[in-house]
Symmetry: D2
Subunit: 337 residues, 4 copies
């Protein structure tokens, strides 16, 4: 969720989003049709809509400003509700998608050994909307320390899982990716799963969308500050990223206000026409101007965010358990925690 | 902080604020000059600006949509910083203003008895920006239960203080004012001090302003939902309200965006002129339109709100201690907690 | 949980317990057989043992130092485990016993009206083992404020429930019973359910026992400090008390140590015999001596108490929901929260 | 604080303590005089007593069951009080002792470079008495990430400090020492300061004693389970350990009960004499018997532990700031947080 918190007014006037599905929509709007290098498939299931975006090549990556790879988005109104049955179904859907994205056979250290998975809860536990990662770890079944001592028949349905909430740079003085890399070098896991809060463009998606991707996390893309990424390149093992949007960028509202204002009936067609031809740079300057008092300062998060973080954390943590351990199902999940 | 959380799109398009100083500024802007029935005095002190607004009569009350009474606003950049020395000075300034607003002699139950003060921490402890009241009570010195047993020489520098965080309707199923009134009827305090989070119009004021008023709290004024007020009329004893803005209304940003857009250089003078004459009703409809996806849903609070609530809660709780107990000063405050 | 926290060495050397089942056991040990005025029935069900103690008259009340009334104890190893299925069964057992103890018809304010129930979460949320009551309220379905506006068909399966966590004397400066009474006088509920942490004699019972009684809560019985009770006499409506032991008294361990030491093989039969004849008063003085450095100072609570309070709070809060609302069952409980 | 939580009845019947000062007292009691290989100096200062124990050689290490090195104990009643002035003095005393134990010149990576210090907050943030380390980090000034970018004149009075709360094995599935070592290998600090909760023998010392040592932390010494130590040997850089006792072992109370019972007047001189000659092994068996129902289960921590952890955490975190940064003093400490 770095982009939200590190705002360079002029760069940031681009409507940034962590969600590939939003980035793709913006690209479609810009190009007016298909985005070359990006394939999109949608599927409607009970309780949710699943969108699978493949960024196929560098052209696609540049078009939507996301690295090459797979982005799965699960959208559901129920994520934000309090219906536990619906939550259980979402846990199931999420676990299935996550499980499908992980190639367990490919990451085995040895044909007879289960891979060790390192789950990282990113974000700042002292800032409610940024605390999803640490919260999700509360619901994670950590097994690595028990696994080696367990008899083979018990091990069978489980995989060794370890976990860490590394905090944020301001709390530790160390780049998050460095802490993770340090642990990776000693513990030698075979896969990293990183859970993080995201910034979305649309308030509709707040706490209603789960994104799973196999591209890792590249904080600060498009921002001035360069931070070490958490991905296969830096960690030397695959990195799956799981994120849920919990904040929106102030620019979204201003942008929408401007567009609606200008497209609206308050203006005559010629006025509208004239405005359309004002240069992009000029518009951006104006928006930066309007936004400057709010930038880097305002958190725009859903009402009830304190509770939402807990609820969504339970779904994410629970779903990771189901995806990682063969013997755990959404039905018996509660027996394991 | 009710207005923020109960939004009726059409009513709420009025730029609502809990701060008298903002309401007065809006009225000045509207009338273009003095607001009849309202007197304003400003004072610059070290570290802070103090504004004293007197709503003198019904005309003034209607002009700024606040009950007749005194509203003292302390504004300081330091409230939001982490400089403890500056916090100590603000505690002192706040305590002095609060102490001046309380007429201890008038509320004594008997010439020889100190008045009992009931401090109420309003708001929802499960929603970070709404949790200022409950947090402030953590720093309050509660003495009523010790007072009666204390020997006269110890009592001398202290006053009997009791406290309650009554929660919110959604948590208790009981109107907050009813809980307070129930306790008041049994405990018979002589003054209520109610601490609450407020909604401001300007993000600049978030966690940078303390408002003290002797008019109590009248939740829901201007909103559809009518809630029982917490004021002299309902409680039969004086009620001092202390508030700090922790959220801003989404409408503020849209409103500012519209104004800046229209006043800006993008439009020709004739366009601007024409826009100025578009009816208010039409403008409101447009704004409600722009805002509708965000209403009742988005919390806009300052970054670092979790920490700010703690810091400001300490200043408020500490300042109330200094104001209420003759023997407590900003210097020796820490000895008492 | 007052007895634990207010220790008068000499009085407290009596092995105090909040649990009727333990008090009865002690009486049996003393008398060597039946305790007149007290009837006891045990029932073994799946996952739990239920003990129903009736204190029939004043003689029984004095024998076990508990007021006349019914005390139901549900004991289960599963309360302390993390098996959600077992938790669901315990929720069911608890809800059934609680429901049976409430005579809903008798407390209706009018033949056509459902009674209003006021659930009180006693204890100090800042002291982990004392925070059970406030925590249980997090899982309570509060309906009173919605009930009046709900259409009759929705009301049918629900009852109006309100709730408050009144804090403790040290936090509020007001006796807990006074706060409750104030709210009762304004809200006019028909039944109070008070949830509290208890002190047990045996560590085996910590977080493994639920006690339900219809005698209310009489804090400080046997202690120097007299506090206002929360019972039918003081509140003018029935009071059901629900408690779970979360601390043990230090005296328990010392007492056990002494007994084992003396009964053990270290001593010759004649030594043991002699010791048996040492006066009770002398033994108490010795124990008070041994205990004095620990009294009023040490909390002895189970390992993992932070998590236990949350888990048990969910079972208690959930069970109260099932007991109070006809439409809520252990199966659909999660849909209501 | 491992020994407390991992109890092997027979081993643990030895009265274990994390405090060198208690271990030394026990050895003195056993030997009846001086303990060879251990030197002890006491100093009384305002507000506190400082004991400096040097374990000089292997003989001393075995005698008190602590590694060779320096152990400084600061004892003060004020640590547990709420007097902020006294807390400030303790912060000063603690910072001075800590600063003296660190040889900053010896750990400089280069004559012109300040050493980087890595502060580790050990323990489980979900178990109140074990949460001291994580809490202390809340008050730590973390500078490493700012240090490199800061201009030389700002750097001058500060040193680069980074921090991590690595959790516990049960939360992460990774040995704490492994996480720390991983970070150490990547970040290359020059000194580790590890803050932890300790187990004491005497309840008098709970939250009243700070121990500083240069021997690091060797969890599990004397216990069955072997855990990787955090010391110069394992980390390749010096490790300073800071600890405050927050729990006592149940065995302490039983042991005291037995001793007082036997030494007391209840027994005749001949009985006492006979008891003295009962074999140690027999006594231990008896104690293990008495204790078995409580072992591994009961936490015995001071009343008000939730608040104590916060208060002591502030003193420790603040004192570390003063010790590490030349420009920070107890007086201006609050300006830096």
């Amino acid at each position: 969720m770095k982009p939200y918190f590190n705002s360079n007014p002029y760069n940031n006037v681009e409507v940034y989003t962590d969600l590939a599905v939003e980035a793709h929509n913006l690209a479609v709007k810009r190009t007016g049709g298909e985005v070359p290098g990006v394939s999109v498939r949608e599927e409607i299931v009970e309780n949710a809509k699943i969108t699978r975006i493949e960024v196929l090549n560098q052209q696609g990556a540049e078009a939507i400003n996301k690295p090459v790879g797979t982005y799965i988005t699960i959208e559901s109104q129920d994520l934000r509700g309090q219906n536990r049955l619906a939550h259980d179904k979402l846990t199931d859907i999420f676990a299935t998608e996550l499980g499908n994205l992980i190639n367990f056979d490919a990451i085995r250290p040895h044909p007879n050994l289960e891979p060790t998975i390192f789950v990282v809860g990113l974000g700042n536990w002292n800032a409610t909307p940024d605390a999803l990662g640490p919260h999700a770890l509360n619901y994670l079944m950590v097994t690595r320390h028990l696994y080696q001592q367990a008899p083979p028949e018990l091990r069978k349905g489980l995989r060794p899982v370890c976990a860490l909430a590394p905090g944020v740079l301001g709390l530790t003085g160390v780049q998050t990716a460095e802490i993770i890399k340090g642990v990776v070098q000693l513990v030698n896991p075979d896969l990293i799963i990183a859970i993080d809060s995201l910034a979305a463009r649309s308030t509709d998606r707040l706490a209603r969308t789960i994104q799973i991707s196999n591209t890792g996390i590249s904080p600060g893309s498009g921002l001035g500050k360069k931070r070490l990424a958490i991905n296969q390149e830096t960690m030397n093992i695959p990195v799956i990223a799981i994120g849920v949007p919990t904040v929106v960028n102030a620019i979204t509202i201003v942008n929408d206000a401007m567009e609606q204002l200008i497209q609206g009936e308050l203006f005559s067609p010629t006025e509208r026409e004239r405005f359309r031809h004002i240069e992009e740079a000029e518009k951006k300057r104006l928006m930066a101007n309007i936004l400057s008092p709010y930038m880097g300062d305002l958190i725009m998060s859903p009402k009830g965010i304190d509770e939402l973080i807990k609820d969504v954390g339970r779904i994410i943590g629970g779903g990771v358990n189901v995806a990682l351990h063969p013997d755990i199902t959404p039905e018996n999940l509660s027996l394991y925690l």
